[in-house]
Each structure stands twice: as structure tokens, then as C-alpha cells.
Amino acid sequence: MSFIDLSKNEVQCKIVYYGPGRGGKTTNLLYLHQAMTEAVRGKMVTIDTKGDRTLFFDFLPLALGKIQGLSIKIQLYTVPGQVMYNATRKLVLKGVDGIVFVADSLKVQKEKNVESLENLRQNLAEDNLDIKEVPLVLQFNKRDLGGSNIPILTVEEMEEDMNSELQVPWFSGSALKGDGVFETLREISKRTVKYVSRKLLSR
């Protein structure tokens, strides 16, 4: 849930990077962390990473400047993607204001992407949130593998698998190289702030 502090004219929102395990959620945050100045970002916190698996979450706070006199503070979180960690995912989703779904372009992950998106829909529904109402953008990650000998999905296929019903903005990306990472963040931030302010106006 967002929090607006009128004594500081500041809004805080929570954006969660969701998606199948090893799709590149943590890599998105790592890229943002190293590409942003300390004036913009706070300390990145990673909990209990065994190997390179996120067991609980990663956390990165950002100060994104002002919109109409209101300072925008955004907290980015990632969830663990592995199926068995659903309790943790629900915890991290608590009070979410916007979601980036990081889908894996590897052909072998085709089903995992769809399963994870369905899992997101269910977890939101349990919290009385409709996936069609919460700000959401898709990122088709690992596009840098196109042209390598690793089989990858086409973006058309990924759109059809994940976005035919949702019809949300999507970005091709390579979190490893930083392609599309800022574009994704910019779009979800914009949508989230708009969503939060619309909800507030209708109070």
C-alpha cells in the first residue's frame, strides 16, 4: 500500500518484480543499483541468497524526483521464483502498488513463465486484487541470447502466451546488459504513481 506523507509532500510506493525463478529479477535490481547514483538509490538488501537463488527477497529503495511537487519514493522488491516459495511471495506482495513481470526468453522456460503469471494472478486475487487493475508491465528478458545457439522464444510467442488477455505494456530487455531495464522501471513507476494518485482522488 502506498503511503503519502503530507508533512513532507512525499509518496512511497511498492513495486514488486515477479516471475519464474532465474528469469532475471535480481539482475534487474543489481543493474539499477550499479547504474544509479547514491543520491537516487539507497542500499540494496538481499536476504539469504544461497548460490544465486533469492530465498526471501531483494530490496532497493529509490528516490525518483518530483511529480507535481510530490517527491516520489519507490521501494523495489523481488520475489523468489521457485514454485515452493509461494508463502514468501505472498508476503512480499503484501501492499503492492505496481508489478514488473520478468519473463524468461529461454524456450525451455515457456511453461514456467505462464505458470508464474497464473500464480501471480491467484496470489493477487487472494488479497482481493485484480491482476487487470494493478499496474503491471511485462519484461521479456534475456533477449541478448537471440542469435546464440540457445533456443529462445520469439517476442510474438511471448506476447501471445502472456499478454493476449492482459494487454499491458511490454519491453524486450537484457537485465545482464542493462537493455530495457530503465524503460521498464520508468513505465511501471509512471503507471504506479498514476494509479496511486487516482485511488487517492477517489477517496
Binding site: S2, G42, R203
Partner: protein, 131 residues
């Protein structure tokens, strides 16, 4: 769901935290919501990353609430972690908030408990009631 606090509400919260907890010996007090937003922090947080503390505390509280459910409880009303020099005490404030109090070894846990209980009662109406 979303929370909007006026300057007066924030000032009220600050007063309560300062009067009842900082003057009672706490080093630092934070009020956070259960999604991890930092609402107010008071005291001397030098070298303390309060934003990370807020996020981690909300997660910790959430994880503990799941443990509570496993043993047939709804939730735990408070948590306490004891360090060599610094202790940390978490109290549930209504359903949506957590009060975090850091205090040193010279302050008694009993006093902190008493004061946080009192503060909690005062904060609930400011934060919009029990929900």
C-alpha cells in the same frame, strides 16, 4: 488500503514517540506499515539504514505471523531480539502497522513494554483505527 497522513497527524505521532519512548530511554523509534513503508522515524539513527530496517521488519513480522498461524495463533503481538549492546522490540499497532523500538542494555525491557503498549493505544486512532 492506502494511507494519507496530514502534517498534524505526523506531528501527533512524533510527539507521542518522543514523549513516551525517547524520553523513556529508547535510542530510536520507527513506525512502519506492514508493507514496509517507513512512516516516521525518531531518535538518533546515525549509521542506521532506517529504510532497510523498515522493509526487513515488515518482512520479519510477516514471516513470524505465518509461524503464528502454523501453531494456531493469529499473529504475535510483539517480538523482541536481544543483542549484546542493542535490543530491538517490535509491537503490532492495529492490523497494519509495526512500532520498532531500539534500546540499549541500560533500559529495562519491562519499561519499554509498558511504554510501547501505551503508545500503541494512542497511535491506533491516529492511524485510522484497528483495520
Amino acid at each position: 488500503m492506502d494511507l494519507v497522513l496530514s502534517k498534524e497527524a505526523i506531528d501527533n505521532i512524533i510527539n507521542v514517540l518522543d514523549e513516551d519512548l525517547l524520553r523513556g530511554g529508547a535510542d530510536c523509534v520507527l513506525l512502519v506499515d506492514r508493507s514496509g513503508n517507513l512512516i516516521v522515524n525518531r531518535g538518533d539513527p546515525a549509521n542506521l539504514d532506517v529504510v532497510a530496517l523498515a522493509a526487513l521488519s515488515a518482512a520479519n513480522f510477516g514471516a513470524t505471523a505465518e509461524i503464528a498461524k502454523l501453531i494456531g495463533e493469529d499473529d504475535f503481538a510483539l517480538l523482541f531480539h536481544k543483542g549484546k549492546n542493542e535490543n530491538i522490540h517490535f509491537t503490532k499497532v492495529g492490523k497494519g502497522f509495526i512500532l520498532i523500538t531500539l534500546f540499549g542494555k541500560e533500559v529495562s525491557l519491562g519499561l519499554i513494554r509498558l511504554n510501547t503498549a501505551k503508545v500503541t493505544e494512542t497511535l491506533i486512532p491516529i492511524l485510522g483505527g484497528e483495520q
